[in-house]
Assembly symmetry: C2
Homo-oligomer: 208 residues x 2
């Protein structure tokens, strides 16, 4: 399938469709219409139909889709039909929370490697994951062929660790440090910064 | 200023502009062009100029903006010229990490209230913040006039706590639970779910 034609913004919406469909399935629903899904997601049925039309075969307006088929299809499209191993750097408060987040294994994500630089933390375990010294990061990532890294380090260390991840073969970085990383075009980088989202809210709430 | 005319998507980009400008100021830069800023943010100068044109007075193409003025302007637009108090619900691993996140106080956000239902946790302190029983959530939020809530509870509890937040007067909810909340139109809700972002990456990386 020529996936190059699908806009990034469409891809970025698919995980949320999948999450909501899983929720609906858990609630005991068997079929879903694009307007049912749209209502949950505060979007339009037209948008959902257009997004899904890139991948073909999800039926047409007015008819309900079998939820389990749609879930299966989306999982295949997103390459979720496998376990993804991830390297996590930073074992502070946030890193520790991420290392133990039950939502990762439940959705096919395994924190396979965990690194920190603090001698008081290196050598300990967080949950079942040993904390290794960040000096071993590149070699461990290469040995295990890991493609995705999570950055949970302080802002001042983030760019340097990100550069080292890239040199070790990492292709996707989820960055929790509150900095805008400078990375090669080929790297799939995304940021999680609760402050940026809260600031967007503050614009709207401050005017009330 | 008639802020109703500004599209939400434009507002959602302003915090990132602000963050990058702060980074540039820290690096010792004094002026910035829209193309400098665009290069850092992997966007176009035209996009940035268009976004900022909603608010007027940032100069025009080709001339550099004084960074400190742009920072001040953006802070005013986003209502960041004050401390924002926030109620956090959930004192598990994630809630504990959030309660101690130095990036909040550093950027004007104070976790003023912290709630949990676990009797082993209620009555303890996390950092300097006492953990209160979630039964007191509504009254405390009302007493302190808090408008923003952060949800760091398990998926199964999220909708119910969100409903209670809304009934207590919360206008904005940052939701870390991996569920799509059903909320009144008037509520500014945003989700943070690292799995959704990782799944978007997996689409691209799985094809390499």
């Amino acid at each position: 399938m020529a996936k190059v034609d699908v806009p990034d913004i469409v891809i970025s919406r698919l995980p949320r469709y999948l999450q909501t469909l899983n929720q609906m399935a858990k609630e005991g629903m068997h079929t879903v219409s694009s307007s049912d899904l749209a209502a949950r997601l505060r979007t339009t049925a037209a948008q959902i139909r257009k997004d899904l039309s890139y991948f073909g075969g999800f039926g047409k307006q007015g008819t309900g889709y079998p939820i389990y088929l749609l879930i299966e299809e989306l999982q295949k499209i997103l390459n979720l039909d496998r376990i993804w191993q991830v390297a996590l750097v930073g074992a502070g408060n946030l890193g520790r929370a991420l290392a133990q987040y039950p939502g990762f294994p439940r959705r096919g994500i395994e924190i396979a490697l965990l690194f920190d630089a603090d001698p008081n933390v290196v050598g300990t375990q967080i949950g079942t994951i040993p904390v290794q010294h960040v000096d071993f990061m590149e070699s461990e990532i290469q040995d295990q062929g890991i493609k995705i890294g999570i950055l949970a380090v302080p802002a001042a260390a983030a760019q340097q660790i990100a550069d080292r991840m890239v040199s070790a073969g990492i292709e996707g970085i989820l960055n929790y440090a509150p900095v805008t990383l400078i990375l090669p075009e080929s790297i799939h980088a995304m940021d999680i910064d609760p402050v940026l989202q809260l600031q967007t809210m503050m614009y709207f709430i401050g005017e009330d």
